[in-house]
Amino acid sequence: MKLSDYEKDGVFILEPKGKIMGGPDATLLHEKLHECIDQGKKKVIINLSGVDWMNSTGLGILISGLTTLRNNDGELKLANVTDKIQSLLTITKLVTVFEAYDSVEEALKSF
């Protein structure tokens, strides 16, 4: 997995690419999310367009980011959720937990 990020309209956007399955790659995303929180960046979008799939480790990282941000009056939103990840969110009922948008632009507007 590769990870890039940028800021737009006061929102921090993370763009992981590849697969999120645990090990060092997953640690990278986890640390980046918590770095945002530590720096007071409370509005975060994860653009999943480049993520082929993730397993429960990836889902756990998203939940960790979501709950930590919410506990700090922030919000985490998802954009461009791929079919495979959407299917996992549905199976695990996490579709009821995350706000997901069809594009980063739509996610940006929702803040």
């Binding site: 090990g23 429960s56 996490l94 937990v97």
Partner: protein, 140 residues
Amino acid sequence: MTGPIIKNNTITIPSLEDYLPDVDNFVEDILEKYGLNKSVIADIAISVTEVVVNAIIHGNKSILEKVVTVTVDKTKTAIEIVIIDQGEGFNPEDVDNPIDDANLLKEVGRGIFIVKSLMDDLKIEPSLTGTRFTLTKNLQ
């Protein structure tokens, strides 16, 4: 053992999650050669990583000297993946129901639930010398 060892259709890794990409690449390469579509390959790959993480952490307790082996096979009707750890046997199903509302925000505990959802069968055989997982995906 200092890294992954591949022999025919089996990969053996030390108990370290850093080797998950090696397992994934190995398994996906074989599944692509079998001509499976991308969605099915992803279902199997996700499931394999779930079980291997369980085997490393809960089975082998992340003891580097203990290994996890993953073997990929194809029968006339199914893909069968066998994953074996060297732990003292554990029941990975002994977790709270991850889709209960009270558990939705828990960061862990979904792995085996996901495997059961994505695969057609999951057999778990714990023993004092290790746990053997057999994952089956039927060929349509």
